[in-house]
């Protein structure tokens, strides 16, 4: 049981680290928001799962469950508000050039 919890804690650490690297590497606000919100969701969810496994069937588990549900409701809303504000203040999303997209093999029809 402890090993499963350790596995989830490790996943949380990896996702958190990669999210922070993504924030530094990516070019504009939308992609950075993707990296940070991504990794916060998955890493924090992994840590919560590990906590639930470690604490077993106790009052703490119920509380962590409530916190997880609360997190599932609030986190996307905060990310959505930042993205919506950026979109409405007409920040143009960064894109690859046409040649680069052709090279990546993506479908290009514009």
């Amino acid at each position: 049981m402890t090993w499963v919890a350790l596995f989830f804690l490790g996943l949380g650490a990896v996702f958190s680290l990669m999210g922070n690297i993504g924030v530094l590497v990516f070019p504009d606000i939308y992609t950075r928001l993707q990296a940070s919100s991504t990794c916060s969701t998955t890493s924090i969810f992994s840590v919560f799962v590990a906590c639930m496994i470690l604490s077993g069937f106790t009052p703490i588990t119920g509380k962590i469950l409530v916190i997880t549900l609360f997190f599932f409701i609030t986190n996307p809303i905060s990310a959505h508000i930042i993205a919506r504000y950026a979109w409405q203040s007409e920040i143009v999303p960064w894109r690859r050039t046409y040649e680069q997209r052709r090279m990546l093999g993506a479908e290009t029809d514009d």
Partner: protein, 170 residues
């Protein structure tokens, strides 16, 4: 007893149920004293606040009575998709080969709460963020723009969620 009165009673009972469920989750004890305390306060708060939480007309009934068993399946699907997409984003960060894009599409969901849940799920899934939601029109930014065709994009992004949500909230 008119339809109106019956719906008002249902509103109070629904609010009480939700509040009592929250109380039981937080205290996690089934001692009679604790449950009684929770019940009394749940009824009192429900009587005061039911007009805020539950809509006035019975047409909104479906949005407060989701099908719970399907909601559980939906949460499992969401968590599974979250992990899969998370590993995909991880791979993209490592290789630095991202191809972001913006796509527009429409959803076929009818009720407001189903649309909000769909928006939240899309944002919660790594690699996609909802930029705007107007009635049934969604604008989504995604990290791996595999297509520019609106209908195919909606199938890729919202497909698995939409099918379940239509059965949960109709």
């Amino acid at each position: 007893m008119t339809e109106r009165t019956r719906w008002n009673i249902a509103r109070v009972l629904l609010t009480t149920t939700y509040l009592l469920g929250g109380w039981l989750l937080f205290t996690w004890s089934f001692e009679p004293g604790s449950v009684l305390l929770g019940l009394v306060h749940a009824i009192a708060i429900a009587l005061l606040t039911y007009p805020i939480f539950i809509e006035e007309y019975e047409a909104a009934r479906r949005s407060h009575l989701p099908r719970v068993e399907l909601l559980g399946i939906y949460l499992l699907v969401l968590v599974f998709n979250m992990y899969v997409a998370s590993f995909r984003v991880l791979w993209q960060i490592l290789r630095g080969r991202i191809n972001p894009g913006v796509t527009h599409f429409r959803t076929r969901l009818r009720t407001d709460i189903a649309r909000v849940v769909l928006t939240s799920s899309i944002t919660l899934t790594p690699g996609t963020i909802t930029l705007q939601l107007d009635d049934d029109h969604l604008i989504v930014h995604w990290l791996d723009a595999r297509t520019r065709h609106s209908k195919y994009a909606s199938k890729l992004i919202a497909g698995p969620y939409e099918r379940l949500l239509r059965r949960i909230w109709a």
